[in-house]
C-alpha cells in the first residue's frame, strides 16, 4: 500500500530504503527485545538497539528531513517514507524515541542556533539517549502542577525535585525537563531545560519496577543539581508553551525525526496466526465466528488509524488541522491494548503462561503486551486527558478543569 504519487526523488529514496533494509537486516538480538522502546531494560538490549539506530542514521533513514547543519539530510517528505518502510520491514524500533519524537522537534522549534547544533545530531544518531522529565508524583496528568524547582544562581540554575515515569532514564545522557521558576503563576511559572543526567552531580536515577516485573522506567531525584543557563530552552516562564510543543510532537502532530520498526504493525497477522493455532471451544479459534468477528473489528480499527495518518496529509479532507493528529496517541494506545487483550482471550488457558514457559504462545507475547499496554494508555497524558484535549481543542467544548 506504500509509495503513492511520490516525486521521482521520493520514489528513488523509497526504493533505496527498501533495498537497504533488505541488505542490512540486523542480526537476531542477543536477548528478547521489548515491544516498545520505553520497555528497554538491559544494557544488552540498549547496545543492540543503539547500534541499529546508528546504522539507520548513517544510511540516511533517520533525520532525513532535518537540516544538514544539525546532522540531518535536508530533504522534504523523506522521513515519512523511511518510517513506513521501517515499519513494513519489521526491523527493530529506534531506541532514542524521546530524543527523536520529543527533544529534537522541540529544540528545532525553540532552541538557539548553538543548542540546535549541540543537541540535535546526537538525538538523530542515537548516540545520546534522551528521557523526559515532565511527570511528578503529584503532577501526573496535571502537567502545570510542577513542583520541581529551578532557582537562578549566577549563570546557573539550581534544580531540586523528583520526577517519575522516566522511561529510558537509566540510559539517558539528557533529559527534557520542566521546572517551576515561579510560584506566582501556575503556567507562566514554568521553565524548560535540557538537563544532563548520566553521571551528572546531584542527579540520581532509581529504576521503577512495572507490573510485569520488568524495569524500563525510573524515578529521577534532583538534589541541588546545577544546570548552566545555556541549557535553558526558550525564555524563562515559557516552559508551558515549550512543553506543549513537545507533547504535540509526541502525539504525532509531526512525523518526527524518525520512528517505526517494532511489533505494532503486525498485530493483526499475529492474532490470526494465534487463532489458526489455538483450539477454542472445540474448534480452531480461526473458525470460531465470535473470535473471527473480534479479530476483524481490531483489523478495521488498525486500518482506520493507518488511513487517518494518510488523510491527515490531505488538507481538503480535514476540517480541523489538529483533529486527526491529536487522536493518534489515544487511538493507537487503545488499539494496542485491545489487540493484546483479545490475544489473551484467544490464548485461553495458555494465556496464564509467562514468557519463561516454553508452552507460552508467541513466547508469552500476549499477556505481557497486555500488561505493558497500560504504559501507553497512562503515560504522556492519560487517555482521559487526551479526550479532554480533543473535546476542548478540536470540538471547542468548555474546559473540564
Amino acid at each position: 500500500m506504500a509509495g503513492r504519487d511520490l516525486t521521482q526523488e521520493q520514489t528513488e529514496y523509497r526504493d533505496y530504503v527498501r533495498a537497504w533494509l533488505l541488505e542490512n537486516a540486523p542480526p537476531p538480538p542477543p536477548e528478547r527485545l521489548p515491544i516498545t522502546p520505553i520497555e528497554v531494560m538491559t544494557v544488552g538490549q540498549r547496545d543492540y538497539l543503539q547500534t541499529w539506530q546508528r546504522k539507520c542514521y548513517d544510511a540516511g533513514l533517520v533525520g532525513a528531513d532535518y537540516p544538514t547543519a544539525y546532522g540531518g539530510q535536508g530533504h522534504k517528505g523523506f522521513q515519512s517514507i523511511a518510517n513506513r518502510e521501517m515499519n513494513r520491514a519489521g526491523v527493530p524500533f529506534l531506541i532514542n524515541i524521546v530524543g527523536l519524537s520529543m527533544a529534537a522537534p522541540t529544540i528545532l522549534q525553540h532552541g538557539t542556533e548553538a543548542q540546535k547544533q549541540k543537541f540535535i545530531p546526537g538525538c538523530l544518531s542515537g548516540e545520546e539517549i534522551w528521557c523526559q522529565g515532565f511527570s511528578e508524583p503529584t503532577a501526573g496528568s496535571d502537567l502545570a502542577n510542577q513542583s520541581t524547582s529551578a532557582v537562578r544562581e549566577g549563570d546557573d540554575w539550581i534544580v531540586n525535585g523528583h520526577k517519575v515515569w522516566t522511561s529510558l532514564g537509566h540510559f539517558a545522557k539528557w533529559m527534557i525537563l520542566v521546572t517551576r521558576t515561579s510560584k506566582d503563576h501556575k503556567y507562566e511559572g514554568l521553565t524548560y531545560f535540557l538537563c544532563p543526567i548520566e553521571g551528572h552531580s546531584g542527579v540520581s536515577v532509581r529504576p521503577l519496577v512495572k507490573i510485569t516485573g520488568e524495569t524500563g522506567f525510573n524515578e529521577v531525584f534532583f538534589d541541588n543539581v546545577r544546570i548552566p543557563d545555556a541549557y535553558r530552552l526558550d525564555d524563562v516562564g515559557k516552559g508551558w508553551t515549550v512543553a506543549m510543543t513537545t507533547l504535540l510532537s509526541e502525539r504525532g502532530a509531526a512525523e518526527g525525526a524518525g520512528s517505526g520498526g517494532g511489533e505494532g504493525a503486525g498485530a493483526i497477522p499475529k492474532l490470526i496466526e494465534l487463532a489458526r493455532n489455538t483450539l477454542r471451544f472445540g474448534m480452531l479459534a480461526a473458525d470460531e465466528p465470535v473470535t473471527r468477528d473480534a479479530i476483524v473489528q481490531r483489523a478495521i480499527v488498525g486500518e482506520g488509524i493507518r488511513q487517518n495518518a494518510r488523510r491527515a496529509r490531505v488538507q481538503s479532507l480535514c476540517s480541523h488541522p489538529m483533529r486527526l493528529p491529536l487522536q493518534q496517541k489515544l487511538s493507537g494506545s487503545e488499539y494496542q491494548q485491545d489487540n493484546a487483550r483479545l490475544g489473551v482471550e484467544i490464548a485461553g488457558a495458555h494465556s496464564t503462561l509467562y514468557k519463561l514457559d516454553p508452552r507460552a504462545p508467541h513466547a508469552g507475547h500476549w499477556p505481557l503486551a497486555y500488561l505493558n499496554s497500560y504504559g501507553n494508555t497512562i503515560a504522556a497524558g492519560t487517555n482521559e486527558i487526551q479526550r479532554n484535549i480533543l473535546g476542548e481543542r478540536v470540538l471547542g467544548l468548555p474546559k473540564s478543569k
Partner: protein, 396 residues
C-alpha cells in the same frame, strides 16, 4: 474506473473533487437548511405514520441537481456523464448525508455503477438516459432481505428474444422516484440483469411503510414483465454485481459519514449552549468524552471511506476488503453518534419538533442497507482469515 492504475496517496481527492464537494455544500446549505428539511419531511407525523402516506421530497431541487450533472457523475463522458472519481462522488455524498437530502440520487448512482460494471451497448444507452436526467434504482433484494447478490428476487423465462420476468423485488430504495429499475433475475442457471421502465406493463409498486422520513422504499411486483433484447443489461449478473458491489457500499457509507458528522456537530453545538448545574453540559466529561469517542469513530470511518474510493477507482484487488471495512466502520460510527445525540440532547432530542430524529432514522436505515457491521465483518473474515474450515490444515 476498471483499469488498474496506481492508488494515489491523497485518495485521488484533488481540486476537482474538492470543488464538487464545496458546490454541493453551498447549494444544499442554501436550498435545504434544517428548517426547510423539517417542514418538507417532518411537518407532522400523522400523514406518514398514521395515514401511511409517502414522505415528501423536492422535485424542483432535484431538477437543479440534475442540471448540475450529479446523476451523471459516475457515467463515462461518451455517455454524457462527467466520469468523476468515486472519491469525488463520496465527497459530494457526505454533503448529501449532512443535509439528509430526500432524493433518488444514491439509487441512481448505484444503478450507474452496476451498468458501468456491466458495460456494453445496452448499458451505455441506459447510462446515456441517466446522464440526461433519468432516475434509476436497483431491484436486487428478495423477501428475506438478503444482501448476497446471488439471492436474486426474480425469475426469468425466455420467449423468443424477449425475457419475461416474474416475482417480487423487496426493499427497492426510492422506487417511487425512479424512472428505471435495474433488476436481477435467475434465468436457468444464469443470473441476468435487466433494465425495466417503471411504467412497464406488469410492473407494479407497493409502498413500504418505513421509519425513515427521507426516502421511500417499495416492493416491486413483476408479473409477466417483458424485457426486450435491448434492455438486457448482462447475462453475467453475478460477475457484474460482484464488481459493482464495493462501489455500492461506498455510496451508502459516504451518506452515513455525512449524516453522522452532522449529528456530531449539532450535538456539540447544543452541548456548548445548554446549561445545567450552572455550566454548559459540554463541560461534563459524561458529555464531552462520548462526543470525542464519536468523533474518533467517524474519523476512522471517513478515512476508510476514502481509502475504499481510492482502491475502487484504481480497480485494485483490495476494493472489496476496503469497501466492507468502510461500511462496517460507518455503520457502527453512525449507530453510536445517533444514540448519543438523542441521549445528550435530553428531553428535546426526544421530541418530534427537533430535527435529530430525521438523521437518526436515516442512519438506522442506512446502517442495515447492504448489511450492517456484523455482516460486513463476516464477509471480511472470509477474506482476511479465510473461509471457516480453511485453517484446519495449519493446526500443528
Amino acid at each position: 474506473m476498471t483499469n488498474v492504475q496506481t492508488v494515489p496517496r491523497d485518495f485521488g481527492f484533488g481540486e476537482d473533487e474538492a470543488m464538487l464537494r464545496d458546490v454541493a455544500k453551498k447549494m444544499l446549505d442554501d436550498r435545504l437548511p434544517l428548517e426547510k428539511l423539517r417542514s418538507l419531511v417532518a411537518d407532522s407525523p400523522q400523514p406518514i405514520y398514521e395515514a401511511g402516506e409517502r414522505t415528501q421530497w423536492d422535485p424542483d431541487l432535484w431538477s437543479e441537481i440534475v442540471a448540475l450533472g450529479w446523476t451523471g457523475l459516475a457515467i463515462g463522458e461518451a455517455q454524457g456523464g462527467s466520469d468523476i472519481s468515486l472519491a469525488g462522488i463520496a465527497g459530494m455524498l457526505e454533503e448529501v448525508g449532512k443535509h439528509a437530502l430526500p432524493s433518488p440520487l444514491i439509487p441512481t448512482l448505484s444503478a450507474s455503477l452496476v451498468l458501468r460494471a456491466a458495460g456494453g451497448k445496452n448499458s451505455n444507452q441506459i447510462m446515456a438516459r441517466i446522464a440526461a436526467g433519468a432516475t434509476a434504482s436497483l431491484a436486487l433484494t428478495d423477501e428475506r432481505g438478503s444482501w448476497e447478490p446471488n439471492d436474486v428476487p426474480l425469475t426469468g423465462t425466455e420467449d423468443g428474444n424477449v425475457i419475461v420476468l416474474n416475482g417480487t423485488a423487496r426493499f427497492v430504495q426510492d422506487a417511487f422516484k425512479a424512472d428505471i429499475l435495474i433488476a436481477s433475475a435467475r434465468l436457468g442457471d444464469e443470473i441476468i440483469l435487466c433494465a425495466v421502465d417503471i411504467d412497464a406493463s406488469g410492473l407494479s409498486l407497493d409502498a413500504d411503510h418505513i421509519h425513515d422520513l427521507s426516502r421511500d422504499q417499495a416492493s416491486a411486483h413483476f408479473s409477466g414483465v417483458r424485457v426486450e433484447a435491448d434492455s438486457l443489461v448482462s447475462r453475467e449478473g453475478a460477475l457484474v454485481l460482484h464488481a459493482a458491489w464495493p462501489g455500492l457500499l461506498v455510496l451508502v457509507s459516504a451518506d452515513l459519514c455525512g449524516a453522522s458528522e452532522w449529528l456530531l456537530q449539532t450535538t456539540v453545538e447544543y452541548a456548548k449552549e445548554r446549561v445545567q448545574f450552572d455550566r454548559p453540559i459540554g463541560f461534563f466529561q459524561a458529555v464531552k468524552h462520548p462526543l470525542v469517542d464519536a468523533m474518533v469513530e467517524i474519523d476512522r470511518a471517513r478515512s476508510l471511506l476514502y481509502n475504499a474510493c481510492a482502491e475502487i477507482d484504481a480497480g485494485t484487488q483490495d476494493s472489496e476488503r476496503a469497501a466492507r471495512m468502510a461500511k462496517s466502520a460507518a455503520s457502527d460510527a453512525a449507530a453510536f453518534i445517533s444514540d448519543r445525540s438523542v441521549q445528550l440532547h435530553g428531553g428535546i432530542g426526544f421530541t418530534w419538533e427537533y430535527g435529530i430524529h430525521i438523521y437518526f432514522k436515516r442512519n438506522l436505515h442506512n446502517q442495515t442497507l447492504l448489511g450492517d457491521g456484523v455482516y460486513q465483518r463476516k464477509k471480511l473474515a472470509d477474506i482476511m482469515i479465510g473461509p471457516i474450515g480453511a485453517s484446519q490444515n495449519e493446526m500443528g
